[in-house]
């Protein structure tokens, strides 16, 4: 009898342990239930712009309990590496992918593949040619291009030659900025875009290309640099050549180097986007997509033209210098 009693007790203890362990695991499940794995794959894993994006994304990740993986190739024109990264994210069965496509067309296929694996893809900063994309979060690049062109033409008093230093051929945001700019310039018959070059997000290359351009077109009155790397290269070269103020420069984004050039009067204006908001909203909307909440098709995080006059406005300072050093 005592034997059966012991057996009975053992069974009860076993059941208790089982239930207790069950309760533990279930509560953990409860937590992981809400924690999503989101991969953010950007064009480049360095640079002030992308670091700011990352900062915003991390804030959102903390707020929405997201396990965020921030990835990017070493260089902005390494499209193959970016495709590999997206494939890796698909293999790792991440819950959602936030993609800033280095190439509008080349990343379309892998985006479709993610869609096939039921992984939602959100475009951030730069669009990709895929219907699978849930939403686009970023600057209206066409508008930003127009803003840059408007300021440059103002600075050139409505006439003269303009050079264009873009970054990667095929990058959607570069193309949109360029077309916005060209469309605006088209209204001014005395303004002529004489050259367009691609620096591949390489400062040295940008400087060299600028040098070539200025030598080729000595009367050039203005240069538009379409991203921060191009801006740094162009302004450094113009400064080196002692043409500061004579060749007007309007650029994009606000790395410290560009800000310095702005204060020194070599760069006259820069169109800044809102990388922090891009990163933050991208993660936020990714969570919303995963939770089945409807997200708008396009989220414009805005753009702003910064010049010497407004660069020290308190609300601009934080945006221009996101990192406290």
């Amino acid at each position: 009898m005592t034997k059966t009693l012991k057996k009975f007790m053992l069974i009860i203890i076993f059941i208790m342990l089982l239930l207790v362990s069950c309760s533990d695991t279930s509560s953990q499940l409860h937590k992981t239930d809400k924690s999503y794995k989101v991969s953010m794959i950007v064009k480049m894993d360095s640079g002030a712009f992308w670091n700011t994006v990352k900062m915003g994304a991390e804030i959102a990740a903390k707020e929405y309990n997201v396990e965020l993986t921030f990835l990017g190739p070493d260089s902005e024109d390494d499209i193959e590496e970016q495709i590999r990264l997206v494939n890796g994210a698909i293999l790792k069965k991440t819950d959602a992918i936030i993609l800033s496509a280095g190439d509008y067309m080349k990343l379309a296929q892998v985006t479709d593949r993610a869609g096939f694996h039921k992984i939602p893809v959100l475009s951030m900063d730069t669009e990709v040619a895929s219907a699978r994309v849930k939403t686009y979060i970023g600057t209206n690049n066409y508008e930003a291009g127009q803003k840059a062109a408007e300021r440059l033409i103002e600075l050139m008093h409505g006439e003269g030659q303009i050079g264009l230093v873009s970054f990667v051929k095929g990058a959607r945001n570069a193309d949109e900025r360029a077309s916005g700019m060209l469309d605006y310039i088209a209204r001014f018959p005395k303004v002529e875009v004489v050259d367009t070059v691609y620096c591949g997000s390489n400062v040295q290359l940008a400087a060299n290309l600028t040098n070539e351009m200025i030598r080729k077109y000595p009367h050039i009155k203005g240069i538009i640099a379409l991203n921060e790397i191009a801006g740094i290269g162009v302004s450094q070269e113009v400064s080196r050549l002692g043409l500061g103020g004579k060749v007007k420069i309007v650029t994009f984004d606000s790395p410290p180097e560009v800000m310095e050039m702005l204060q020194e009067g070599i760069v006259q204006g820069t169109v800044i986007q809102n990388p922090y908001s891009n990163g933050y909203l991208a993660v936020k909307h990714a969570v919303e997509v995963l939770e089945g909440i409807h997200v708008p098709e396009r989220v414009d995080t805005g753009s702003k033209l910064i010049d010497l006059d407004n660069m020290l406005w308190p609300e601009n300072q934080k945006q221009l210098f996101p990192f406290v050093r």
């Binding site: 009898m1 009860i12 204060q263 922090y276 908001s277 020290l312």
Partner: protein, 568 residues
């Protein structure tokens, strides 16, 4: 059921208590964290003010502002503190008089538009702390600084002049200090100045971009304290402390629903705990009650069976100790009952048999025939009186021996019966013996079985006296000795050997003659009715005679006493 209720109650109490103390602890913890940040900041600000004063003093002591010694001293001072970015003195119209370190100024500094410059002009007396801003004066990195500025006096070539002293302190220390504050998972701390400008906020950019909103207004009502803010979707626990020297407010924001998460965890745990405990309790109680009730039910069944008359099935119930004991006892009881019953059966049979014997004795045809023969002889001899005596005695004898079918009669009646028997026998044996009766009056009213003395007397006559050549005598004596009545029947006949005596009561001596109610029968009847303490005992010696003692309990019956008096 009670256990379940108790468990529920206890866990509910525990839960409430636990949640309350967890909440209190969490709030206290938050306040302590903010307090700590506050004291750190106060200390830091105080340190900066001290440095400012030192710089001011050194400038004040120096006769000429362009003294290279002063510059050296200030450079050393700058290097002692890592977070000092720069020291500079400007004239009220924005010309630089002194700067440490010796860096090239940038162009387009717009310093007259900067807040530290303007506040120094507006409030020349106190050292003002600016909002954190980008220091754009010197080449090199753009740094976030907090500017300390005031209008001071300095001497240039011995001439007293007014100027604005600017000390820029790196904002990084404050930023790091504040960003490290974590209140729960989502909670944070932010700092605003006395005008409501954000000094530090982890989501400052989102607020500027309009993606976030911080409800600052109620914060102004407090310099120190805590409240719950319901302005946002999630309620928030706000703790406010003021950095006294500069009026900045540190605001801790915590989300009570995070505490609620621990509450929910606790709920989940408790629910599971309860489910487990209740299940276990139920299982155990079911098991235990089954363990106890099942054998009891079996016991009940067995008892019912016994009740229906089946005494032969022993109960074999296993289970708890008590139940086993119960069934053992019951079995024992059953066994005893069974024994008693068989005993009763045996006794009843014996009784019935002896009663039958008595009945036979009542109308012993042999005795009647002998007596009647004697009477006939008396009649032939014409002894009328003797005949009357004989018939009267016979009739009385029969009356008493029948005695309305009752088994019990008084000792008086019994002795009466014996007397009549002796009278008849005396007639029969032509006075071959004498008899005496010595009876205590006390004993007359005692109740006795009937026909117990007569068979003894009969024996005495047939076996003791009949074969004697001389005249025999029979003495009957009745005495009350304590609780018992002793009747002795003594004859002076042949007597008997020890051997015969010992066999008398075991029934191995067969007696064919006589009334048929043997000595053994008398003995058995007495023992059946009164127990083994009573019965017959013998005393005998060959050629001397025999005494038979009949021992009976004293049983009195008033009813019988009355009856007897009427009869005698």
């Amino acid at each position: 059921m009670i256990t379940v209720v108790v468990v529920l109650l206890v866990s509910l109490l525990l839960y409430n208590k636990f949640v309350k103390s967890a909440e209190d602890n969490a709030y206290l913890n938050i306040q302590q964290i903010i307090d700590q940040v506050n004291s750190h900041l106060e200390l830091y600000v105080k340190g900066m003010q001290d440095i400012y004063e030192v710089v001011e003093q050194q400038i004040g002591q120096t006769g000429n502002i362009s003294d290279s010694l002063l510059k050296e001293q200030l450079t050393t001072l700058l290097h002692t503190r890592e977070d000092l970015v720069s020291l500079a003195l400007f004239t009220p119209d924005g010309q630089m008089v002194l700067d440490v370190p010796d860096e090239t100024m940038r162009r387009n500094t717009q310093l007259k538009e900067q807040s530290w410059y303007q506040t120094a002009l507006k409030q020349p007396q106190t050292v003002s702390f600016s909002q954190p801003h980008i220091q754009n004066l010197y080449k090199g990195q753009y740094k976030w600084v907090v500017s300390l500025s005031r209008m001071i006096t300095y001497k240039q070539d011995g001439v007293l002049k007014k100027g604005i002293l600017l000390v820029d302190v790196n904002f990084r220390t404050i930023d790091e200090l504040s960003s490290k504050v974590s209140l729960g998972k989502k909670g944070y701390a932010y700092i605003i100045d006395d005008a409501g400008n954000i000094i530090y906020h982890p989501q400052q950019q989102l607020i500027y971009a309009g993606l976030k909103y911080e409800n600052i207004e109620p914060v102004f009502d407090y310099a120190f304290g805590s409240y719950i803010d319901y302005s946002t979707k999630d309620e928030r626990y706000i703790t406010i402390r003021t950095v006294k020297p500069i009026g900045w407010k540190i605001v801790g924001v915590a989300y009570p629903n995070e505490i609620v998460t621990t509450k929910r965890d606790l709920q989940v745990f408790l629910t599971w705990f309860l489910v487990v405990v209740i299940t276990v309790v139920l299982l155990i109680s079911i098991y235990v009650s089954a363990k106890i009730s099942q054998p009891i039910r079996r016991l009940e069944k067995a008892v019912k069976q016994v009740g229906q008359g089946d005494f032969n099935t022993p109960i074999d119930v296993k289970g708890a100790y008590e139940v086993v004991q119960l069934s053992k006892r019951f079995n024992l009881m059953l066994h005893q009952t069974r024994q008693l019953m068989s005993q009763i059966i045996v006794e009843q049979e014996a009784k019935r048999k002896s009663e039958l014997d008595v009945l036979q004795a009542q109308i012993n045809p042999h005795f009647l025939y002998n007596t009647l023969n004697s009477v006939i002889r008396l009649v032939e001899r014409g002894e009328k009186e003797e005949v009357v005596t004989a018939i009267t005695s016979l009739s009385k004898l029969f009356r008493i021996s029948l005695s309305k079918g009752m088994n019990m009669i008084t000792l008086g009646e019994e002795l009466e019966h014996v007397r009549h028997y002796l009278i008849i026998q005396k007639i029969r044996y032509k006075s071959k013996f004498n008899y005496t009766m010595d009876v205590q009056d006390e004993a007359l009213s005692c109740i006795t079985l009937k026909l117990i003395i007569q068979p003894i007397v009969e024996n005495a006559i047939y076996h003791g006296i009949e074969l004697m050549p001389d005249e025999g005598s029979i003495a009957i004596a009745v005495k009350v000795e304590g609780d018992s009545v002793v009747i002795s029947v003594t004859d002076n006949g042949l007597g008997m050997s020890e051997e015969v005596m010992s066999q008398l009561l075991t029934g191995s001596v067969k007696n064919t003659s006589g009334s048929g109610v043997g000595v053994k029968n008398v003995h058995e009847r007495i023992q059946l009715y009164y127990g083994e303490a009573y019965g017959l005992t013998f005393m005998s010696e060959l050629e001397e005679g025999t005494t038979v003692f009949i021992t009976l309990p004293v049983v009195r019956n008033d009813h019988h006493v009355v009856n007897m008096e009427g009869d005698v």
